[in-house]
Amino acid sequence: MGIAAEALKDFKGFHPKKLPEREPLSPGHRACQGCGEVLALRQVMKALGENVVVASATGCMEIISSPFPQTAWRVPWIHVAFENAAAVISGVESAYRALNRKGKINQPDVVFLAYGGDGGTADIGLQSLSGALERGHNFLYVCLDNEAYMNTGIQRSSSTPYGAMTTTSPPGKKSIGQRTWKKNVAHIAAAHGIPYVATASPAYALDLMNKVKKAAAVPGPAYIHIYSPCPTGWRHGTDLAIEVARMAVLTKVFPLYEVIDGKWILSRKVTKPKPVSEYLKLQRRFRHLTEKEIEAIQKRVDEEYEQLLAMCSLGAEPAEGEESS
């Protein structure tokens, strides 16, 4: 049994009627109306509780939660720069390890969380993330992926999906929008051989919170990639974040899975997937796409899902039953 499986052998998930009431990330922050990212972060924090130290990358979740002299944080929180949340939490975790060992403090059970957006994770912060995962610090890194640099005004990142309109991948006579396919950071994290990797979605809140709880329970590094709808940047209604997030799962665009000790486990098998066009049409960032381009996206989504199924124990039962449309 691997170290993650060992740590999780008596794991008990949250009960939907007994969720923690305390909100470590308090209401009253300055996120946009209908923000799916702050909702995901709220779920992460509810799952982690209050015996935690949080390191934030620069980005939407930093700027909306900490305008001096106000703060939305009821737990210790540090922001340093854009690209280094994983390195900062490395230092915090190491300090706690040393101070506990040397008898200078007695706080052995503190949990360490670093989070960043897709820019702070897939682009500018990828090196410091890789370093922290490789060194084996006992921490959880959460990527809140809203698929572009939303805080600076919707510029493309390496995590922006193919075809999407952003302010630096505009569609035009000679452009379809984003020309490249989305970088898969969860796979990159898993390639480090760390004990726990997962994808999660705020549309599946219990699944998300249980994954966070597992990640905190596992010794060593854990990585969770969370799909985080952005009404402002994706050009969809402010009441649609959860619907868009759910549709991403039901169309296989954003599959939910775990990698525990290197073993790939599908969280929800989508047996009767909806067409990708159902997902794309909810968001005006894709409205310029032609049928031919949508076909190319459908083909890519189908291929990647088949690859994922092949990696997930070759037909083993999914962890939490089937999801069909």
Binding site: E50, V80, G91, Y96, A98, K102, Q127
Partner: protein
């Protein structure tokens, strides 16, 4: 009191860091800093030092990790040089703005391009406006003493600023010198245990590093400027305590045969000892020459500088880093500005010397003094020259 023994300066630097009982070291290898962190990793590996040694993947992450560690309340050390400093520079500004008492030894090295691993002061000059306290060593004993001093100053609740201890790469870092290491009891007597004023603690949650809107940013920077300026009194006080306990004296600006000098050399770092030899030689020839050398670069010791140079008719200011196309090098800028503010107007000539590992010799200092004397006598324009540069 420990015995005077011959050891490599980098090894001695690591030994004193170990004696200071640091909790966390995060570092990335770069020549000529490497021997310091190599020896620290040995001390940890052998169980002589109970610390977390974090071999990070870049200097940017080294300083970021140090920020996290210091914010969590651990005594924290790192070391770098040159390009490594350049890469971590972004986070160095944040470390001082967040008032985190990190200590860093910089084995000073030239900046690329062309790539050059040898000594000058380009890296420490890049750090000039970061808000770090910067002290400068001239020999191995001073490296040891200044590192011990750095922890005490940085962690003093009246200061709470990071401290950079500068030692010339190779010409200091790789030399074997006679050094007295303090023993553990002496270190403990001089350096109290680190008591963080604020730390990242779930039992007392705080927000570190919030957004500073235009309404508060100016005040935040003013407060930081005051803190850096006011740190000088604590720096001096800690040196006075050091002298009482260890018998070795340090001052923000030190002088050598300067009392009646008409011409003063002004230096910083290990070339100061060469300059003393040059002063001795010129004094033997009957020239009224002396030396002022900066021990403290930040906060800039303006009053002490004026006291040291006010009697001189001419100054030969040596810089070991360029401010390309500026009026002179960074040390000379500060000197001229300080003198101008006080209505003092000696003849000042600036010499850019020892760039990228080029030796600065006794003869070079004699030439500088001769040129300053000639310029003063003939009323030549003041300015700067790059010493010994081939056309």
């Amino acid at each position: 009191m420990g015995k005077r023994v011959g050891m490599e300066v980098s090894i001695a630097a690591a030994e004193v860091v170990g004696l200071c009982d640091v909790d966390v070291i995060a570092a990335y290898p770069i020549t000529p800093q490497t021997h310091i962190v190599e020896h620290l990793s040995e001390l940890v590996a052998d169980g002589h030092l109970d610390a977390e040694f974090i071999p990070v993947e870049s200097e940017h992450s080294a300083m970021s990790t140090c920020v996290g560690s210091a914010a969590a309340g651990a005594r924290t050390f790192t070391s770098t040089s040159s390009q490594g400093y350049a890469l971590m520079a972004e986070i160095c500004y944040i470390a001082s703005s967040m008032r985190l008492p990190i200590v860093m030894a910089v084995a000073n090295r030239a900046l690329s391009a062309p790539i050059n691993i040898w000594n000058d002061h380009a890296d420490m000059m890049m750090a000039r406006d970061t808000g770090w306290i910067q002290t400068v060593a001239e020999n191995g004993q001073e490296v040891v003493d200044l590192i011990l001093h750095a922890f005490r100053v940085a962690e003093d609740h009246r200061v709470l600023l990071p401290v950079m201890v500068n030692l010339d790469g190779f010409t200091l870092s790789h030399m074997i010198e006679p050094i007295i290491l303090p023993d553990k009891e002496e270190v403990d007597r001089y350096l109290p245990p680190y008591k963080p004023k604020l730390r990242l603690d779930p039992q007392n949650p705080m927000t570190f590093g919030p957004v500073g809107m235009p309404e508060v940013y100016t005040e935040a920077k003013k407060a930081q400027d005051e803190a850096v300026k006011e740190s000088k009194a604590v720096i001096v006080e800690a040196w006075q305590e050091f002298e009482k306990q260890f018998g070795r004296s340090y001052k923000p600006v030190e002088t050598y045969k300067a009392e009646d000098a008409e011409t003063l050399l002004l230096t910083m770092g290990s070339i100061s000892e060469t300059a003393m030899t040059a002063v001795d030689k010129m004094r033997a020839d009957g020239q009224k020459v002396g030396l002022a050398h900066l021990r403290l670069w930040r906060p800039f010791p303006a009053e002490e500088l004026v006291d040291a140079v006010k009697g001189a008719k001419a100054l030969a200011v040596v810089d070991r880093a360029l401010s390309l196309s500026g009026g002179c090098g960074p040390v000379c800028v500060e000197v001229k500005s300080t003198l101008f503010d006080r209505g003092l107007s000696p003849y000042v000539q600036n010499f850019l010397a020892g760039l990228g590992g080029r030796d600065v010799t006794v003869e070079d200092f004699e030439t500088m003094v001769a040129k300053v004397g000639d310029g003063l006598a003939k009323g030549l324009p003041m300015g700067y020259e790059i010493v010994n540069a081939r056309e």
